[in-house]
Symmetry: none
Subunit: 249 residues, 2 copies
DNA sequence: AGAAAATTTGCTGTTTTATGCAATATATTT
DNA sequence: AAATATATTGCATAAAACAGCAAATTTTCT
């Protein structure tokens, strides 16, 4: 195995799980601990990760951007984000919504993938700044303090002039019958606009939210092209969604 | 578990609940109390939190000045920001530029002051989110990775439709003769638009930048209404600016 | 292709760091 | 003041980092 490959593997591991142990990775790659240590040292001096006693941690872990350790159900969300990343193709023009799941998606975009990403979300935009090959376009507007995204008429207006290859969106609540719903009216308005502006709308949603609903409706479930949960697509919990014309991932 | 992970967890806990008990966290992390104690001690000397008898508390808890990291010439910038804050009046509609000085201004806006703040800067917008009485409006656009602000035609276009009471701006270089100049052309374009959109343009600038210049020109010094440095307005270094019709603060 | 040079890798012994434990001291509470 | 909880110190152990060296591999050059 080439040094490059090894270092790539280490980096992937770090980006994915925020950390690695030298011993683990040495065993997995079947090289001596010294080699791994040297690799990590190099990657550290290249500022690709941060070497610490016993292993290495992601830069995101230390830097101001996203010290996301208290995200609820982080593992599930990472799982979802990984599936979403697999949809991305070189040169795609995509929209990434706010919320912790979408933030994970932003975080897991591979360094070398060239993309144009639109977003309404401040944290997502911040996260994307660390991706050298991603052009970041923030759609501005009045900022919602809780959701940390742009909302309001001017925002919606801007959205009408764009078409995304994929719109990756989250939702507060989802139900096979009542579709996507939210607690907040303003948020529903921008989400509607996003879905309209997306050739394909991809819903990222942890299974815990399935079969829940709230006051304001964003769209019918049919408006969603692909739905990603942390579950296996064949899981029984998804049966109700299988009837609709939705791709499950 | 790596030491850094542990410390991260402790920090999160502190930031979240403003305090932790050493015994609690030791049990949760399944390490000895000594280890936690040592971690907390380290974090304390790094000024990430404050160690107290039996546990640790958040910095925000002790000092009103938030946990600021490693800004260059921070004290000067705080000084400038404080003067700028004194210009703010209840209900003002202002623009706040990017850069560390302006970020300090955003940070120092009093909690109870009611304002409408426009900005192009992601960090400034994030900072403003913690101000309950500030309406934050982010002007969107293509995001400059280095400057972390929105740039480009659509951004400039949006700026033409607004008038701010005050536009608080920074600059890369300033000179009494050559005016405000920058290293980056795109940035000059948006700054021009901001100055146009401001009834009064207020320049925030540490004295170190006085009498320096660069390639692209933002505006003449006369376009600036008020100039704030960390120096006393009577300081000799400001003599060259006194001739112009500028208010020094 | 084959030799020489440069790089990479694994191994050795040594040094440093991290952690837990116990004894003692200090602070806090009742 | 006594009882309890928390801090400090020194020490022992294990794990990890480091430095130097030699074997193995890759690259470069003829």
């Amino acid at each position: 195995m080439l040094k490059e490959e090894r270092q790539r593997t280490i980096l992937n591991e770090v980006e994915l799980h925020n950390r690695v142990l030298l011993t683990d990775i040495a065993e997995r790659l079947d090289v001596s601990i010294d080699t791994v240590r040297r690799d990590v040292k190099e990657l550290d001096t290249e500022n690709k990760l941060r070497k610490v006693h016993g292993g290495a941690i992601s830069l995101a872990f230390t830097s101001p951007t996203a010290p996301n350790n208290n995200t609820y159900a982080l593992q599930e969300k990472i799982n979802i984000a990984e599936k979403a990343v697999s949809l991305l193709k070189e040169g795609s023009v995509v929209f990434i919504d706010g919320g912790t799941t979408c933030l994970e998606l932003a975080r897991l975009i591979p360094q070398r993938l060239q993309l144009t990403c639109f977003t309404l979300s401040l944290p997502v935009a911040m996260q994307l700044l660390s991706k050298p090959n991603v052009e970041v376009i923030l759609i501005g507007g009045r900022i919602s303090k809780e959701a940390q995204i742009a909302i309001g008429a001017s925002t919606i207006n801007e959205l009408t002039a764009i078409k995304f290859d994929y719109g990756f969106i989250g939702t507060g609540y989802v139900d096979s019958l009542h579709g996507l719903t939210e607690f907040d009216w303003d948020i529903v308005q921008v989400k509607k606009a996003v879905i309209n502006a997306s050739k394909k709308a991809v819903l990222l949603c942890i299974s815990e939210k399935l079969n829940s609903q709230h006051r304001y409706k964003t769209c019918d479930i049919n408006a969603i092209n692909t739905m990603i949960t942390e579950l296996d697509p064949s899981n029984n919990l998804l049966n109700l969604f299988r009837n609709h014309d939705i791709r499950l991932l």
